[in-house]
């Protein structure tokens, strides 16, 4: 079958903050850029970010990038690469001012400077007093960012392919990346998008868990495509769970509720956080609070008929405070938990929120893998940025508002790197003869499948398995069983059957293709978690409660073929400053 082909200098899959920041850099340099997105760009998941973007501007309290760097290294539980972290923190002010210059409507202080708010994990003087580092545009920072970047890109002539789904990565025999295959949803047609540089910015994959704060589109497509093309996935055992997602639906209840004086209760009406974090109590770090909730449930002190959630109480704040400072939270509680928090507590559970792992890259956004001679060889023509990438600046645990910074800093850096790389290799490499075979085979399998599994059912089993076997607390026997179970789920995912075979906007087909990617991410997560015999950041093992720097101060690499694991050292040496050596992480 003849497949349509189009040629670009650069093809970017993903139009969230990361993809659009990179695209802007390239289009403004005069390159021909295509950006694909499953949904309209400003509907990317970045729109959900409320808290802000971290940068040590020092507009409210004294601050500098070196303190920010320390906090990020410590927050990462020392698994973050210190060269990349230095790079990010040093560039933070510049990229935020650049966004301001692009027209992003940040809130202002009375003196006209950008408004900043304090967030957990931010300190002055290397672990001293609270810092005030998150720049915000009301509670809609992500929204403001996406709209600003989209407008700029339209002006710079970036070509958007909206409601297009990237399906597979194209690599030649040398392993170089030459573009992607993609499907236009409107027509169901498959096309080859050939490029000198291919950049993935497909965002997170939180939908592998039953309880998730992520939108439905976050299915880890970039990771699935990479894994199928032989690229390893890094540090996939590290997932951040937010302690307060609404029970049953996952919608995020922001830390602001506890900041205003709300607190958590178990079924006996006890303020249990006092037992787990006597000082910080309900305001302790996300990982600490999430583990406490999980322990309460496990020990039978959960609420409700299944004793499977806890309660977030805020009625004592009074109707005025709730209506004035937390109106959004009240709306969410009424709509999704059917309780009015002015009178009743909100049922909550720890909920999957952010993927620290991803496609391995260096801080230029180039994908690196041990596929030729060295452990971190650049995969030519291939770049990744944003939540789908693992640079790694978040290590084992991400600090709030560092992700919006990550996507902008590395989006821009990858753009600059591509511009340099294309100067050196200005021509398209010839496409291999089997360019779309993998994609066509996958589609043909789905088309012809008889007596297969339902996509919805396999998806539900996958999410349930991940939640039960690889959640906040991890147990050796559960993980072992989980590896077997998720392997079975992956087999079922490869045999799904869809009833609707039509071409136009076939959501059943799209969801089946997304399930392929979810299965890759789930497998990588479970296998990597089972092997890591220590507790570090968000990865908490019941049988290995301590961090073990002797054996485990290293990054995991998961290879799809043979579900093999390999490891590579953490980059402890920053670019210019002294290294921050691992210390116990106490708050």
């Amino acid at each position: 079958m003849a497949i349509a082909r189009r040629k670009f200098d650069a093809v970017i899959v993903g139009a969230g903050g990361a993809g659009m920041r990179a695209a802007l850099q390239l289009s403004e340099a005069g390159l021909k850029v295509a950006v694909l997105s499953k949904v309209f760009p400003t509907r990317s998941h970045t729109v959900a970010a409320q808290g802000g973007i971290a940068a040590a501007l020092g507009n409210v309290t004294e601050d500098n990038w070196h303190w920010h760097m320390y906090d990020t290294v410590k927050g990462s539980d020392y698994l973050g690469d210190q060269d990349a972290i230095e790079f990010m923190c040093r560039q933070a002010n510049e990229v935020v001012y650049e966004l301001e210059h692009f027209g992003m409507p940040f809130d202002r202080l009375e003196n006209g400077k950008i408004y900043q708010r304090p967030f957990g994990g931010q300190s002055q003087n290397f672990g001293g007093a609270q810092a005030t580092r998150s720049c915000a545009a009301a509670d809609r920072t992500g929204h403001a960012m996406l709209h600003t970047l989209y407008q700029r890109n339209v002006r710079a002539n970036t070509q958007f392919f909206i409601e297009w789904m990237g399906l597979d990565l194209i690599r030649d025999e040398q392993g170089d990346v030459l573009g992607v295959t993609a499907m236009e949803m409107e027509t169901g047609e498959v096309m080859v998008l050939q490029a000198k540089a291919t950049l993935f910015a497909t965002g997170g994959a939180g939908r592998i868990f039953q309880a998730s704060t992520n939108a439905f589109i976050n299915t880890g497509d970039g990771l699935g495509m990479s894994a199928r093309a032989g690229i390893p996935l890094e540090d996939m055992e590290f997932w951040q769970f937010h302690p307060t997602g609404v029970y049953g639906v996952g919608v995020l209840i922001s830390e602001a509720v506890r900041g205003e004086g709300g607190y958590l209760l178990n079924k006996d009406g006890e303020r249990f956080m006092q037992r787990y974090a006597p000082h910080a109590k309900d305001l302790a770090g996300r990982d600490v609070v999430s583990r406490a909730l999980t322990m309460e449930i496990k020990e039978g002190r959960g609420c409700g008929k299944d004793a499977d959630h806890l309660l977030l109480k805020l009625d004592h704040l009074g109707a005025d405070v709730i209506n004035m400072r937390l109106p959004g939270i009240r709306e969410i509680a009424i709509k999704f938990a059917q309780v009015d928090p002015i009178n009743e507590p909100i049922p909550v559970v720890p909920t999957a929120h952010y993927m620290m792992g991803g496609i391995p890259t260096n801080f230029h956004g180039q994908v690196v893998a041990p596929y030729k001679t060295g452990p971190e060889e650049v995969v030519r023509g291939f770049y990744a940025v944003g939540e789908c990438a693992c640079v790694s600046v978040h290590g084992a645990n991400r600090l709030g508002t560092n992700s919006l910074l990550d996507i902008i800093v590395f989006g821009r850096a990858a753009g600059n790197q591509i511009i340099e790389d294309l100067k050196k290799s200005p021509h398209h490499k010839p496409l291999p003869a089997d360019v779309a075979d993998r994609t066509l085979a996958r589609l043909a399998r789905l088309e012809g499948q008889k007596g297969g599994e339902s996509v919805a059912q396999v998806g539900a089993t996958l999410r349930k398995t991940m939640q039960a076997h690889c959640g906040v607390f991890r147990f050796a026997d559960m993980l072992k069983e989980g590896v077997t179970k998720i392997g079975e789920v992956a087999e079922q995912a490869a045999q799904t059957e869809i009833k609707d075979k039509s071409k136009v906007f076939n959501t059943a087909r799209i969801e089946a293709l997304e399930l392929d990617n979810l299965a890759e991410v789930a497998l990588a997560t479970m296998v990597s978690a089972e092997a890591r015999n220590e507790s570090r950041g968000a990865h908490a093992r019941d049988d290995f409660p301590e961090r073990d720097d002797e054996k485990w101060l290293k990054h995991t690499l998961y290879f799809r073929t043979g579900r093999r694991l390999d490891y590579k050292p953490v980059r402890l040496k920053p670019m210019t400053v002294e290294s921050f050596p691992p210390k116990p992480r106490v708050y």
Binding site: V39, T42, R43, H45, V47, H143, I217, V249, V504, F505
Partner: protein, 77 residues
């Protein structure tokens, strides 16, 4: 002809809140909509996530008052 499928995909949003509300609406109400409702629903789906959510939570009034009956269904799901 494929309006249902198209609408179903356009209910995929950046905010999980909207994903959930719109999915409930599709499952419970979409098939009973009149042509005029369908037209209006499509207009609502073209809004940005935050604008749409503000209307679903009654924080913002629609500019076009005739869209209110449809919005009330969305507010109640």
């Amino acid at each position: 002809m494929k309006e249902l499928e198209r609408a179903r995909w356009r209910c995929r949003r950046g905010l999980l809140e909207l994903d959930i509300v719109l999915q409930r609406f599709m499952d419970r109400h979409y098939s009973q909509l009149s042509d005029k409702d369908l037209q209006q629903f499509s207009t609502l789906l073209d809004l940005s996530d935050n604008d749409l959510w503000d209307m679903v939570t009654s924080r913002k009034e629609p500019e076009d008052a005739s869209i209110r009956p449809l919005l009330e269904i969305l507010q109640a799901v």
